[in-house]
């Protein structure tokens, strides 16, 4: 089905199953340890070997010698493979650096090979015996150092610089001018499940169990890198312990497991140790951002300028900090530009809400500062500059933009009117403040297919290569099939993450929920037709409810349709470009913080997100998405920072003790409210994803709350105690 017109009424609109707060259908498997994650496929794999990655310990240069003799002779070692022993064609789709380096080293901890042994411990021990000689080269590791040479550059095929009207003239002429610079630190996805793969060859066919968000992409990546036909590769990733973008692509574990299994003729498992994840894989790069906003005296924006600078490997993407600024606030004159400098740090790539997660921090602090300069409430300024058309493409109307409602509804719920002047609210030793920010993230849509089958026992089976990265895909797909076919969720079996199933949108860019359920919707429409035909019912009028199919006076059981065997159908959704509509998801974040007036510690007290994203397919799993994203935003605002050691060209804090993500004690109270709206222009489900929306703006709201608490403005995140203390009076 090509989706190019607003959706009329569908069975989904009845809301008997879709939109209800169903607990995760895969929850019991996960809480009892029976969900099989990538490293856990022990059954049926006799002779499984273990591989341990040999990492480079320089950032840039050449391997002049690699001596594996000692490692090969260690007890339990079966073989040692290095870049000298194989050829990998190119790299994984979406990645820039090679998955295995050598002789050229492109970044610290780049894989150079793999030690293969009978046990994990033997492989790990022997990896330390591999001796590598390098000729190191000087590299560029400082964003400040390359900023002057950074070039305008677009991310992921998008534009580098966009202009509307005459920004410079309008800014110059503006009654109120605002011009500030902001910095955000580099982030690691730091998901709980490390990268892991098990590879097994049968003849020239590869089966790869791995942890991956995009099955079809990874299948073609593996085929291409190994130079075999795609039909010979099967990729399975049914359960994934978080990805945050890092698992959009194949990594060193996948290719090294495949190469090691081919060489040894036995299945091989490679798990990437925690200490390698930070430098071996991908990160969200550090950014510098300049915001220039010119307004009329009343606060109406006349000129909106947002420029970003980041660094990345040659051929990589910049962090697209200005992406959302093209669409979020009004203003007839606009300049948005991303710049990229060349750095020899590990590759920056798409981490959750790429660009927007950190771009929104700068923009939302700037709006807070601007409101204060104008003497306006920060919500008033945002409401005044709302735009129902996309300000960068004024011919396009937002299909479903309720930002103003989110802000106003949230203000009411949060008690925003109790916010006091900066630095004036004190509770004992605590300085208390509130902050607000807009959340905006584009609603991307992507082609997606699924198969659905009515079994002879009346159960429904759904199959698609869609992934569930902890998001709830299993559940919303079960709800979709249940709604369309008139059965409860517990009669639907959803099978995901297998390249043998129809190709889906995969998980990324918050497009997965709406796209994959839309693809399944189409498959279900087709299955309903098949069932109606088998039952000789009028397919247009047939209603599926309570395990029955009803048309006119006739009522049939679904079981009547499978007397001669199961009934199957496939379906696929495709999306064209809309000339009339822009698609986005919107929200408002509210945060209250306490700042310890002695120590400068910032502790979040309350958080609220009010979100509008069309139909919410499952308010429980959607809420989990949003509050998880809010938690990630707390990390970005207060603690998460990959620290570059420019002497070694690496992120030196490469474990979870030194790279601090929030813990439960940091998150005392979170609330999440969804507006009750549907978007018939978006897709057949009239729904959009929220997994990235929940992250956008959070850091800005926290920074604004900290300012409101202390009266001291910080323009750099994370805001750590030494930065906070610089603005606090001496308590002694």
């Amino acid at each position: 089905m090509k989706f190019d017109a607003p959706m009329g009424d569908t069975p989904i609109d009845t809301g008997r199953v879709v939109g209800r707060p169903h607990a995760r259908v895969d929850g019991p498997l996960k809480t009892t340890g029976r969900a099989t994650y990538a490293a856990e496929w022990h059954d049926g794999l006799p002779g499984l070997l273990h591989g341990f990655i040999i990492p480079a310990t320089i950032a840039k240069g050449t391997v002049t010698a690699i001596d594996t003799a000692k490692a090969k002779s260690a007890a339990g070692v079966v073989d040692v493979l290095t870049f000298e022993n194989f050829d990998i064609n190119g790299t994984a789709n979406g990645k820039t650096v090679k998955l295995v380096g050598g002789p050229q080293v492109q970044h610290y901890h780049q894989a150079l090979g793999v030690v293969i042994a009978e046990t994990f411990e033997a492989a790990r021990g022997a990896a330390a015996l591999v001796e590598v000689d390098y000729e190191a080269e000087a590299g560029a590791f400082s964003l400040d150092g390359v900023r002057a040479d950074a070039k305008v550059c677009g991310a992921f095929g998008g534009p580098g610089e966009t202009r509307v009207g005459d920004f410079e003239a309008a800014f110059e002429a503006a009654e109120v001018q605002f011009d500030q610079e902001y910095r955000t630190a580099a982030h690691s996805p730091a998901m709980i499940e490390p990268f892991a793969s098990i590879a097994q060859w049968e003849g020239d066919g590869l089966t790869l169990w791995t942890a991956n968000q995009m099955i079809a992409t990874t299948r073609s990546s593996m085929a291409s890198m190994l130079q075999i036909d795609e039909s010979r590769v099967r990729v399975l990733s049914p359960y994934i312990g978080g990805g945050f973008g890092a698992k959009l692509w194949a990594h060193a574990d996948a290719i090294l497991a495949a190469l090691a299994a081919r060489k040894t003729g036995r299945p091989v498992k490679v798990v990437m140790p925690r200490g390698l994840i930070f430098n071996n894989t991908i990160n969200r790069p550090e950014t510098i951002q300049r915001l220039r906003i010119g307004t009329r005296a009343d606060g109406k924006i006349e000129a909106f300028g947002h420029e970003g600078w980041s660094g990345n490997v040659e051929g990589g993407n910049p962090e697209s900090t200005v992406l959302s600024s093209r669409s979020v606030y009004a203003g007839p004159n606009r300049l948005m530009a991303d710049h990229m400098g060349h750095l020899d740090l590990p590759e920056g790539n798409a981490m959750r809400a790429p660009g927007d997660a950190v771009g929104s921090i700068a923009v939302e602090i700037a709006m807070d500062e601007l409101a204060e300069k104008l003497g306006l409430d920060p919500i008033e300024l945002r409401v005044m500059n709302d735009s129902q058309v996309d300000p960068s493409q004024p011919k396009k109307t937002f299909s479903n933009r309720h930002l103003v409602r989110c802000l106003q509804d949230g203000a009411e719920r949060f008690g925003w009117s109790g916010r006091q002047a900066p630095g004036t609210r004190r509770e004992g030793k605590w300085l208390v403040g509130m902050g607000v920010a807009t959340a905006y993230r584009a609603a991307l849509r992507s082609a997606s297919g699924a198969a659905v089958r009515l079994e002879t026992n009346g159960r429904i089976t759904v199959e698609t290569d869609m992934t569930d990265i902890g998001t709830g895909s299993y559940t919303i797909l079960a709800q979709t099939a249940g709604e369309m076919l008139g059965v409860p969720v517990d009669r639907v079996d959803v099978r995901l993450g297998d390249s043998a199933f129809p190709k889906s949108a995969g998980s990324g860019g918050q497009w997965g929920a709406s796209s994959s359920t839309s693809g399944l919707y189409v498959a279900c429409v087709n299955l309903r037709r098949e069932i109606a035909q088998r039952l000789s019912l009028d397919e247009e009028r047939a209603e599926f409810e309570d395990g029955e199919v009803r048309s006119g006076n006739r009522v049939c059981s679904l079981l009547d349709a499978v007397a001669d065997g199961p009934v199957s159908a496939e379906g696929k959704i495709d999306f064209g470009q809309s000339d009339t509509h822009a698609f986005g998801t919107f929200g408002a974040h509210f945060v209250e913080v306490g700042v310890d007036s002695y120590t400068g510690e910032v502790r979040v007290r309350r958080m609220l997100a009010v979100c509008s994203a069309g139909r919410i397919l499952n308010p429980v799993s959607a809420r989990s998405q949003v509050i998880g994203a809010m938690t990630m935003g707390v990390g970005a605002a207060l603690s998460e920072k990959l620290v570059v050691d420019e002497r070694y060209g690496c992120f030196i804090n490469h474990d979870l003790a030194f790279y601090e993500v929030p813990v439960h004690a940091d998150i005392p109270h979170q609330d999440c409210v969804f507006l009750d709206d549907v978007d018939p222009h978006g897709n057949p489900m009239k729904a959009h994803g929220v997994g990235e929306l929940g992250l956008c703006g959070v850091g800005g709201a926290i920074a604004n709350a900290v300012y409101n608490a202390t009266g001291h403005r910080l323009r750099k995140v994370p805001m750590v105690v030494e930065d906070i203390l610089a603005g606090l009076p001496d308590p002694v």
């Binding site: 790990r124 207060l638 813990v663």
Partner: protein
């Protein structure tokens, strides 16, 4: 992980007999991490978990003798500790996680090693890990490291919480020697400063010596405080911590964590308590040699001492 031999012992004497050239292991919450990362590669492990030494007994002097194998969780929950040595219970509960405290032991906690990123990356120079290789932390990412008591050889911080409380309580560490006999090392001397000669020594233990108990003097009275400052609310090492026992007359004792290779305290600083936080900090940080990244710790420690003294003053009022 390098292959190693492993023996279990059922008493301190057996451990001492088996211990020559071996590493003792109890909770394993620090040692096993180091072995996996090959920061240390012992040939032999002697497992103490069945060796007793897991009770808390009153001493003739009116104090408590805490067996080396008493788990951190049990120690923090002991009613005598809570009543008379609250700073110790609070310090323990400010560290690690519930699961780790259930495993970690009193002696093992004292023996935990520094949390320096360069100590943890075996590709980089570290005198503590590889004597003579150098100290990558000098001019490196030193934000969490020590500001005083360091040398050009090492900037390590002692990351512990429990030891800071023991320092303010003036505890003794009772150790047994392989040839027989015991001695008590004052907690103030148990952790070594790096000094100017290699190897960088961390503990006052002689080869083969085994910690068998920690001895607390009779209760000091007063009000007990443990204030730990960190980047997140739990499960993080101290940027700065303050252990204090403040008496009704405003005198007391103070020790700092997170700022030095050992819990940091001095008689001069204690004497300055009635004069306020700045006087205490001035005494504690005399001769400090902070790095650019961690100079803030001196101001932070001063302010944290002020917070504790203000709380104590309020409690007295």
């Amino acid at each position: 992980m390098k292959a190693f031999t492993y023996d279990r012992v059922t008493s301190a004497d057996e451990a001492l007999a088996a211990g020559a050239g071996a590493s003792f292991v109890a909770g394993g919450t620090n040692l096993l991490d180091h072995m996996k990362l090959q920061i240390v590669t012992p040939d032999r492990l002697v497992d103490l978990n069945r060796a007793g030494m897991d009770t808390i007994e009153p001493t003739a002097q009116g104090g408590l003798r805490i067996g080396a194998l008493v788990r951190n969780s049990d120690l923090a929950a002991d009613s005598r500790i809570i009543a008379d040595y609250a700073v110790l219970a609070r310090a323990i509960l400010a560290g690690a996680s519930g699961q780790i405290r259930n495993r970690a032991t009193t002696a093992g906690n004292l023996m935990q090693r520094t949390r320096c990123p360069y100590f943890y990356d075996t590709a980089l120079a570290c005198n503590k890990r590889d004597p003579g290789s150098g100290c990558s932390a000098q001019d490196g990412h030193s934000r969490t490291l020590a500001v005083i008591g360091t040398s050009d050889l090492c900037l390590c911080q002692n990351p512990g919480d429990m030891a800071v409380a023991l320092r303010v309580l003036d505890a003794g560490v009772e150790v047994a020697a392989p040839g027989g006999g015991t001695r008590t090392i004052p907690i103030a001397e148990f952790h070594q400063l790096p000094g100017d000669t290699l190897p960088v020594r961390e503990f006052a233990l002689e080869p083969g010596e085994l910690i068998i108990a920690v001895v607390l003097p009779p209760p000091a009275g007063g009000t007990h405080y443990y204030r730990k400052v960190r980047d997140r609310s739990s499960y993080a090492f101290a940027l700065v911590s303050v252990a204090a026992v403040i008496q009704p007359d405003g005198t007391g004792r103070i020790a700092l964590g997170g700022v030095a290779p050992r819990p940091w305290a001095s008689e001069g600083a204690d004497a300055a308590i009635p004069h306020g936080a700045k006087a205490v900090a001035a005494a504690l940080f005399e001769g400090a040699r902070p790095q650019e990244d961690n100079a803030f710790k001196i101001d932070l420690a001063t302010r944290t001492i002020a917070a504790v003294l203000a709380e104590a003053k309020e409690a007295r009022a």
